[in-house]
C-alpha cells in the first residue's frame, strides 16, 4: 500500500514556525531515496532503518523530540512536513514581492503571521552576509555560493535564497528616489531593524567596499551596518538633496572631490603643528595614553586626512575600511588605547580644527570627520 497523494488544506493557512525554519535553512523535505511514503503502521525509529526513510527535515524534527511530545508517528510527521513544504513553496513566489502576499487571495493568513513569514524569509545569516558584503551581486558571485556554503556550513539552498534576497532588494530600490530604508520598507514590508540592515547591504554592494580582507575579519556585519548608516546619512547625495535619484546609494561625488582640500591640514606644517598643540593642550592629563598619542599624532592625522584625500578614486573608496584599520585602528591597538581615550582623542581632534584660523573648510571637515569619528569608534574593538 503506497500513498499516492496526501494533502491538508486549511481555510486559514497553517504555518508551523519550526518547519518554516527548516525550510528556510534549506533542509530537504523529500525522501532521500526513491522509496515513496510508507503508510501502514508506524515507522519504527530504531537507528538507521528508520532514519534512512526520512527526509532531512523530518529527521531534524524527530530529533527535536516532537514525536515524544505529541505521540505522533514518523509517517505523520513526514506527511505534515510535506504539507508545510508545499505551502511554503507556493508562498515563495509571493514572498518575492511581499505586498503581493498581503493582497493575494489564495492563502488566508493572519497579519501577524504574514509579517513573520516575510521577516523570516528575508532574515539572513551573519556568517553568510559577511562573505558577500561589498561584493557585486552578480552571477559571478552566485557561482561562488558553493564555496561559501562549504565554508559557512549553511546549505547551498539557504545561501541561494539569501543571495537572491539581497539581489532582489538591490534591483528594486536601485533606481528609486527617497530614503533607502523607507524604500526597502515600503517594497518589502520588513521591520525597521531588518530594513536598515538591507540598506547597509545594498549600500555596500553598490559601493563595493572591501570587507573580506584578513585584517577586517574581526569586524561584524553590525559594525559595517553601523558605518553604512552613518555614511548614508552624511556622505550620500540624499544627505544634501532629498530629491536626488539614487540619493542614498551613491556617495556624493562632489563631496569626495572637495575632500582633497583637507590635505592642507597635514601638508601645511604650521597647521599640523598648531593642530597638534591644540589637541595636546586640551587632552593633557585626560588621556592614559597621552605620550603615545603625542608621539603618534602626526602619523594618525596624516593617515586620516590622506584617506579623505584619496576618496576621489573608486579603488580607494573600496579600500576605505582597509585603510581606516591600517592607518588608525591598528596603531591605536598596538599602543593599547582604551576606547574612551580614542573617543576623547577623536572628539578633540575634530573639534580643534575649528580653532585653526588658517583653515577654511570647516563644514567640509565636519561632514567628513563627524561620520568618520563614529565609524572609527565602532571599528576600534578586538
Amino acid at each position: 500500500m503506497t500513498s499516492e497523494l496526501d494533502i491538508f488544506v486549511g481555510n486559514t493557512t497553517l504555518i508551523d514556525e519550526d518547519v518554516y525554519r527548516l525550510w528556510l535553512d534549506g533542509y530537504s523535505g523529500l525522501w532521500g531515496t526513491v522509496c515513496g511514503c510508507r503508510f501502514g503502521g508506524a515507522v519504527v525509529l530504531d537507528g538507521r532503518a528508520g532514519r534512512a526513510r526520512m527526509s532531512d527535515a523530518v529527521a531534524l524534527r524527530v530529533r527535536s523530540g516532537i514525536l515524544e511530545q505529541t505521540g505522533a508517528t514518523a509517517a505523520v510527521l513526514q506527511s505534515d512536513t510535506m504539507d508545510h513544504y508545499r505551502t511554503f513553496q507556493m508562498l515563495e513566489r509571493l514572498l518575492h514581492a511581499p505586498p503581493k502576499l498581503l493582497h493575494q487571495l489564495i492563502f488566508q493568513i493572519p497579519p501577524s503571521r504574514q509579517a513573520l513569514l516575510i521577516e523570516r524569509y528575508y532574515a539572513f545569516d551573519e556568517a553568510f552576509v559577511r562573505e558577500v558584503l561589498g561584493k557585486k551581486l552578480s552571477k559571478g558571485t552566485k557561482k561562488d555560493l558553493d564555496d561559501i556554503s562549504t565554508k559557512t556550513g549553511i546549505t547551498l539552498k539557504s545561501c541561494r535564497r539569501q543571495f537572491d534576497n539581497f539581489k532582489r532588494v538591490f534591483k528594486v530600490v536601485e533606481e528609486m528616489r527617497g530614503s533607502l530604508v523607507d524604500n526597502i520598507q515600503q517594497h518589502f514590508l520588513l521591520s525597521d531593524r531588518l530594513a536598515r540592515d538591507y540598506a547597509a547591504i545594498v549600500f555596500f554592494a553598490n559601493n563595493r567596499f572591501e570587507t573580506g580582507k584578513k585584517k577586517l575579519q574581526y569586524l561584524s556585519f553590525g559594525d559595517f551596518a553601523f558605518c553604512a548608516e552613518l555614511m548614508i546619512q552624511n556622505w550620500t547625495l540624499g544627505a544634501v538633496d532629498p530629491q536626488a535619484d539614487d540619493m542614498d546609494m551613491d556617495l556624493d561625488k562632489e563631496f569626495l572631490q572637495d575632500l582633497k582640500e583637507l590635505k592642507v591640514l597635514v601638508a601645511d606644517k604650521d597647521l599640523l603643528d598648531l593642530h597638534k598643540s591644540l589637541v595636546c593642550t586640551a587632552l593633557r592629563g585626560k588621556l592614559g595614553v597621552f605620550s603615545e598619542m603625542e608621539a603618534n599624532f602626526k602619523n594618525l592625522s596624516r593617515g586620516l586626512v590622506n584617506v579623505a584625500a584619496k576618496l576621489t578614486h573608486n579603488k580607494d573608496v573600496r579600500d576605505l575600511f582597509v585603510d581606516l584599520v591600517e592607518k588608525f585602528v591598528e596603531p591605536c591597538r598596538s599602543d593599547h588605547w582604551p576606547l574612551n581615550d580614542v573617543r576623547l582623542f577623536l572628539n578633540q581632534y575634530s573639534a580643534s580644527v575649528h580653532s585653526l584660523d588658517g583653515f577654511r573648510h570647516q563644514a567640509l571637515w565636519d561632514r567628513y570627520m563627524g561620520t568618520l569619528r563614529g565609524c572609527l569608534l565602532r571599528l576600534c574593538h578586538d
Partner: protein, 1017 residues
C-alpha cells in the same frame, strides 16, 4: 423586461505576464451574459490595469437571471494573432434576486483558468434592477430563498415547514461529445463548467417554482449533487425542504445565543402570527394537486395508502392503538391522526432538516435506508429525464414504506447519494423515521389546546426516544424498557438516527466519532452481471457495517448514534463501505451491555486463555472509554424502573456465516437491538480479525474530541477560534493477492492515519473538537482508494468543560465572560472597529499575543510579533502609512456548521454553489499529484471566500465539499480534478460586538438631542 443587470469592470491586479518581450500584458475584459457580450478597452502594458469601465447593461428575463451565470473573461490583446485568454470569473447573480439578501456584488475575484489556476484578480461591481411583473405566468422563481443549512436559519423563524421538494435535470456531458475530440482541454473544461452552472441555475429555479406552488418562500437543507455518468450524461439533482420563513425583524431580537441555538428558538413565539408573509396566506390544503404538477415523477406518484408489499407487513398506522403508554396513549392517537392528515397529502413526507424547532420532533423510530443498483444508459432526451426520476421515486417509496413499518409517518434527516463506476450506479437514500408535531406542517389555525397538552405530556429530553411503533405489534424484535428518564414510556435499548442530537436531549458525558469501515472484493464483470454481483454483496455489507457500528458503540459504552451516514462506493473490483456517526449516551436509554466473546473450541486450554485475554482487553477498553467520555449514569435499581423485562436475557448468537439475504435494510438496522449482552463468536480467523480491528481504533489524543454532528454533546463553551480544512488521501493498493482482510486493514489504516495526522496538525488548538467530520470514500481507479475529509476544528474552554451540569443562568454568565475574552483575543480580525469603545483596553496587547495559533508561550510570541511587525509605530521616518496595514484582504471564515461560535449571524446573503475543473499537462512541474491538488483546493477556498466577500459577507456556513473527483495519468504527466462546493454566505457579528453596539446605540441617540438642547438654550 423584468430585470436589468449592470456590470462594471473596475480594475485588475497581479495579472500574469503575457508578453515575454515586454514582461507586461495588454489586458481587456469581455463581459458576457446570455448571448450578449460587452468589451472593455484594452489597457496597454500593465499587470495592474485600471479599466474603470462604463456600466454594461443587460436587459434580461428573470428566468435567465436565475439560470445564467455572469461570465467575465480577461484576455490579452494581440495585434497579430488571436487574443490569448488569461482566465475567467463566473458570478452567480442569484443572491441579488432576493430582497433581503445582497444588494450588490462588488469586490476582487480571482481570475481562474482551468489549466493554469488563479492568475491575478479582477475588481467587478454587479447590480440588478428587478421590475416586478406578477401577472405573467411565472417561469421564474425569483425571491425564493435557498439555504444549505439543514436547520431553520438563525435569523429566521419557521412559520410552516411544507416538506420535500426535489428536481433533477439531465444533459449530455460536454466531455463526451464528439466535438471534444477536436477542441482544447481548456475549451472542454469551460464548456463543462458553464453547462453545470446553467443546469444548477435551472434546477434551482425549478425547485423555487415548486416552493412557490406550495406557498412557501424558502428552501432549507438544499442539497444539490452532480452525477457524472460518463458516456450516458450528466445529472444534476437537488432535494430540499420547502418552508415559509419569517425574518426576525428587529435587531433587538438577535439574542446572543449561538452557543445554544435552542435557547434562541425558545424565546421566540412560534405561533400566533396570523399573516406573517404574503406567500403563506391562504389555505394550504389545495396544494396537493399543484405541488406535483411540475414534477416529472408525476407518473410514478403513489398515494401513501396505496398497496405496497411492504405496507402489508406493518400495522395500519392510522389506528394509533393507544397501548404504548398509559397517559400518552389516547393523546398519541389523536396526535398521530392529526399529523397524518397533514402529511398524507404529501407524496413523500421527507425533511432534509437535521435539527428542528423545539417540539417539532415527537418520536424517532430509527434509521431507514434503501439502495438500488442501476445500469446507466444513455439519456436520449434531456427534456424527459424520466428514468432517473423513476429510479429515485422508487427508492423514496421504499424509504416511505420502511418508515411506515416503524410506525412513523415522516422521515427526517433525509439525504440521497450515488456512487458510479463505469455503467453501474448505486443509488442510496437514508433518513430517520419520525413522528412529527403537526403544528409546523400547516397553517397555525389547527393549533389549540392539544399543543399545551403536548408540551405537558412530553418530558423534555427523552420524548423523542420513546418508541413510535406499537409495542404489541412491533415491526421487528426489539428489546424495550421503560424510559430511564421519565419512566413512563417505552424506549429501545439502542437508537440510530441520521439527525443531529436534539438540543434538549438529556445526554450523559461526551460524544465521539464512530466509524465502521469495510471493503469487499468483487469480480470484475460487465453490465448486468456486474450489477447483479453488486446487488448480492450489498446486504452483506450493510449487515457488517451495522455489526461493526454496534460493536464499536458498545465498546465506547454508549447507546445511541446521531448523524449516521453510510456510504457505499463501487469500484471496478471492490465495494467500500464507510459509516460515520456520533455516539452518545442518552440518559433515557438503558445502559448498554458489554461485549462477550465466545470461543468455538472450548477444550483447548491455550485458546481458552487467549479468549479470556481478549475478553479482558475488551472490558478494559469499555471501562477506559467510559472514563474518557465521562459516562457515569446514575445507578438505578430495577425496582424503581418497575422492570418491564420479564423474560430472561437470552444470549442470541451472531453467526458470521449466516446470511440475511434480504435487502430490507431496516430490519437489519434494529435487529441487534434486542441483545442485552453482545456476543461475538470467534469461529475463524476472520472473526478474530474483526475483534482485533475493534481494538485498534485509537482514541484521539487528550484534549481532542471529534464528532460528525453539528455540535459535540457535552461541550458547550466554544471559544471563537475555528479552522475548517479539507484533507485528501489516495493510496494505491498492491495488486498482489488482495484479500478482503488485507483490504480491510489497508482501509482501516488509511482512515486511522488520516485522523492521526489531523490531530497532529491541529495540536496547537487543543483543547478542541473536530466537528462535522465528513469522510467520503471513492475508488477512482482499479487499485486506488481516495478518502476526502472536511471538518472544522473549534477550540473550547477546558475549565468550563469540566462542569458538565450547569444552570442556564450560569451558562449565560460564563458565556459573557468568554465573550469578553474573545473580543480581546481577536482584535486584529473583525472587531477592530469596536476596539476604541472596548471595555478593557489595557489587557488588549497581552491577550492579542496569545491569540495566534502556535504553541509558543505568549510572552515569547509577543516579542516575535512585535519584532516582525513591519507596521510597528514609529518605524517610518516621515512616510504615510505603508501600503499593507489596513488594505489587507478581509477574513472570511468557512465552516461546515450552521453557526459560528461566539458570533451571531445577522444576515444570509444567498447560496454559494460553485463548480470548478482544474487540469494540468505538467503534473511533475506542479509538484506531482499532491502539489496539484493542494494548490487547487487552496484556490477553491480562495474563490469561495472572494465571492462571499464580494457579497458583503464574512463567513460561509454549512459549507460542504460535495464532490472532489480526481483523475491522474502520471505516464502522460496529466491530471484532472473536479470540485463542487456549496454553502450559505452570511454576515456575522461577534456577540461581544453586538453588546457594544447595543450599549452604544442609546448613547448615540441621545447625543444629538443633547446638543440640540444646548443650542436652543
Amino acid at each position: 423586461m423584468p430585470g436589468k443587470l449592470k456590470v462594471k469592470i473596475v480594475a485588475g491586479r497581479h495579472l500574469p505576464v503575457m508578453d515575454r518581450a515586454s514582461d507586461l500584458t495588454d489586458a481587456f475584459v469581455e463581459v458576457k451574459f446570455g448571448n450578449t457580450t460587452f468589451k472593455t478597452d484594452v489597457y496597454l502594458k500593465s499587470l495592474n490595469p485600471q479599466w474603470n469601465s462604463e456600466w454594461f447593461k443587460f436587459e434580461v428575463d428573470d428566468e435567465d437571471l436565475q439560470d445564467e451565470p455572469l461570465q467575465i473573461t480577461v484576455l490579452d490583446h494581440d495585434t497579430y494573432s488571436a487574443n490569448d485568454a488569461i482566465g475567467k470569473v463566473y458570478i452567480d447573480i442569484d443572491p441579488l434576486l432576493y430582497s433581503e439578501a445582497a444588494t450588490v456584488i462588488s469586490g476582487w475575484f480571482p481570475i481562474y483558468d482551468t489549466i493554469h489556476g488563479i492568475r491575478g484578480e479582477i475588481n467587478v461591481v454587479v447590480k440588478v434592477d428587478l421590475f416586478n411583473d406578477l401577472n405573467r405566468f411565472r417561469q421564474s422563481s425569483c425571491g425564493v430563498k435557498f439555504f444549505c443549512t439543514t436547520s431553520i436559519p438563525k435569523c429566521y423563524r419557521a412559520v410552516i415547514i411544507h416538506g420535500f421538494v426535489e428536481e433533477l435535470v439531465v444533459n449530455e456531458d460536454p466531455e463526451y461529445q464528439w466535438i471534444d475530440r477536436i477542441r482544447t482541454p481548456r475549451a472542454s473544461n469551460e464548456a463543462r463548467q458553464r453547462l453545470i452552472s446553467l443546469m444548477s441555475g435551472e434546477l434551482q429555479r425549478k425547485i423555487g417554482l415548486k416552493v412557490l406552488e406550495m406557498r412557501g418562500n424558502a428552501v432549507v437543507g438544499y442539497l444539490q449533487c452532480f452525477d457524472l455518468e460518463g458516456e450516458s450524461g450528466l445529472v444534476v439533482r437537488a432535494i430540499g425542504t420547502a418552508c415559509t420563513l419569517d425574518k426576525l425583524s428587529s435587531p433587538a431580537a438577535f439574542l446572543p445565543a449561538c452557543n445554544s441555538p435552542s435557547k434562541e428558538m425558545k424565546e421566540i413565539p412560534f405561533n400566533e402570527d396570523p399573516n406573517p408573509n404574503t406567500h403563506s396566506s391562504g389555505p394550504s390544503t389545495p396544494l396537493k394537486n399543484q405541488t406535483y404538477s411540475f414534477s416529472p415523477s408525476k407518473s410514478y406518484s403513489r398515494q401513501s395508502s396505496s398497496s405496497d408489499t411492504d405496507l402489508s407487513l406493518t400495522p395500519k398506522t392510522g389506528m394509533g392503538s393507544g397501548s404504548a403508554g398509559k397517559e400518552g396513549g389516547p393523546f398519541k392517537a389523536l396526535l398521530r391522526q392529526q399529523t397524518q392528515s397533514a402529511l398524507e397529502q404529501r407524496e413523500f413526507p421527507f425533511f432534509t432538516l437535521t435539527a428542528f424547532p423545539p417540539g417539532f420532533l415527537v418520536h424517532v423510530g430509527g434509521v431507514v435506508s434503501a439502495r438500488s443498483v442501476k445500469l446507466l444508459d444513455r439519456i436520449h432526451n434531456p427534456d424527459e429525464p424520466e428514468t432517473r426520476d423513476a429510479w429515485w421515486a422508487e427508492i423514496r417509496q421504499e424509504i416511505k414504506s420502511h418508515a411506515k413499518a416503524l410506525g412513523c409517518h415522516a422521515v427526517v434527516g433525509y439525504s440521497e447519494s450515488t456512487s458510479i463506476c463505469e455503467e453501474v450506479c448505486i443509488l442510496s437514500a437514508s433518513g430517520t423515521a419520525a413522528v412529527l408535531n403537526p403544528r409546523f406542517l400547516q397553517d397555525g389555525t389547527v393549533e389549540g389546546c392539544l399543543e399545551q397538552r403536548l408540551e405537558e405530556n412530553l418530558p423534555a429530553g427523552c420524548g423523542f426516544c420513546h418508541i413510535p411503533y406499537d409495542e404489541l405489534n412491533m415491526p421487528f424484535p426489539a428489546h424495550l424498557t421503560y424510559c430511564y428518564n421519565c419512566r413512563k414510556q417505552k424506549v429501545p435499548d439502542v437508537l440510530f438516527t441520521t439527525i443531529d442530537l436534539p438540543m434538549d436531549a438529556a445526554v450523559i458525558g461526551k460524544g465521539c466519532l464512530i466509524q465502521a469501515r469495510l471493503c469487499r472484493l468483487k469480480k470484475k464483470a460487465q453490465a448486468e452481471a456486474n450489477a447483479t454481483a453488486i446487488s448480492n454483496l450489498l446486504p452483506f455489507m450493510e449487515y457488517e457495517v451495522h455489526t461493526q457500528l454496534m460493536n464499536k458503540l458498545k465498546l465506547k459504552g454508549m447507546n445511541a448514534l446521531f448523524g449516521l451516514r453510510i456510504q457505499i462506493s463501487v469500484g471496478e473490483n471492490m465495494l467500500m463501505g464507510l459509516a460515520s456517526a456520533t455516539g452518545v449516551y442518552l440518559a433515557a436509554l438503558p445502559t448498554p451491555g458489554g461485549i462477550q466473546i465466545a470461543g468455538k473450541t472450548p477444550n483447548d486450554g491455550s485458546y481458552e486463555q487467549h479468549i479470556s485475554h481478549m475478553q479482558k482487553k475488551i472490558n478494559d477498553t469499555i471501562a477506559k472509554n467510559k472514563e474518557l467520555y465521562e459516562i457515569n449514569p446514575p445507578e438505578i435499581s430495577e425496582e424503581i424502573i418497575g422492570s418491564p423485562i420479564p423474560e430472561p436475557r437470552q444470549r442470541s448468537r451472531l453467526l458470521r456465516s449466516q446470511s440475511e439475504s434480504s435487502d430490507e435494510v431496516t430490519e437489519l438496522d434494529l435487529s441487534h437491538g434486542k441483545k442485552d449482552a453482545f456476543v461475538l463468536e470467534i469461529d475463524d480467523t476472520d472473526a478474530m480479525e474483526d475483534v482485533h480491528s475493534l481494538l485498534t481504533d485509537v482514541p484521539p489524543p487528550s484534549g481532542f474530541y471529534s464528532c460528525n454532528t453539528e455540535i459535540m454533546p457535552g461541550i458547550n463553551n466554544w471559544t471563537s477560534e475555528i479552522q475548517m480544512f479539507t484533507s485528501v488521501r489516495v493510496i494505491r493498493l498492491s495488486s498482489l493477492n488482495l484479500t478482503n482482510q488485507a483490504l480491510n486493514k489497508n482501509f482501516n489504516d488509511l482512515c486511522e492515519n488520516l485522523l492521526k495526522s489531523l490531530y497532529f496538525k491541529l495540536r496547537s488548538m487543543i483543547p478542541c473538537c473536530l466537528c462535522h467530520v465528513n469522510f467520503t470514500v471513492s475508488l477512482p481507479e482499479d487499485e486506488l482508494i481516495q478518502v476526502t475529509v472536511t471538518a472544522v476544528a473549534i477550540t473550547f474552554d477546558k475549565n468550563q468543560a469540566l462542569q458538565t451540569t450547569k444552570t442556564h443562568a450560569e451558562k449565560s454568565l460564563q458565556r459573557a465572560s468568554t465573550d469578553n475574552e474573545e473580543l480581546l483575543q481577536f482584535p486584529l480580525e473583525l472587531c477592530s472597529d469596536a476596539l476604541p469603545s472596548h471595555p478593557f483596553p489595557p489587557a488588549k496587547e497581552h491577550l492579542e499575543s496569545a491569540s495566534s495559533n502556535s504553541g509558543i508561550p505568549a510572552a515569547q510570541r509577543a516579542v516575535t510579533v512585535e519584532k516582525a511587525s513591519p507596521v510597528g509605530e514609529g518605524n517610518f521616518r516621515n512616510r504615510s502609512s505603508p501600503p499593507c496595514a489596513n488594505s489587507t484582504v478581509g477574513v472570511v471564515k468557512m465552516t461546515p456548521l450552521s453557526f459560528i461560535p461566539g458570533a451571531k449571524i445577522t444576515k444570509y446573503l444567498g447560496i454559494i454553489n460553485m463548480f470548478f475543473i482544474r487540469e494540468t499537462t505538467s503534473l511533475r512541474e506542479e509538484g506531482g499529484v499532491s502539489g496539484f491538488l493542494h494548490a487547487f483546493i487552496a484556490e477553491v477556498f480562495a474563490m469561495v471566500r472572494a465571492h462571499v466577500a464580494a457579497l458583503g459577507g464574512n463567513a460561509v456556513v454549512s459549507y460542504i465539499m460535495k464532490q472532489c473527483v480526481f483523475m491522474e495519468n502520471p505516464n502522460k504527466n496529466q491530471a484532472q480534478c473536479l470540485i463542487n462546493v456549496s454553502g450559505d454566505a452570511v454576515v456575522f457579528v461577534r456577540e461581544s460586538e453586538l453588546e457594544v453596539v447595543s450599549t452604544q446605540q442609546p448613547a448615540a441617540n441621545c447625543q444629538p438631542s443633547c446638543t440640540g438642547g444646548e443650542v436652543t438654550t
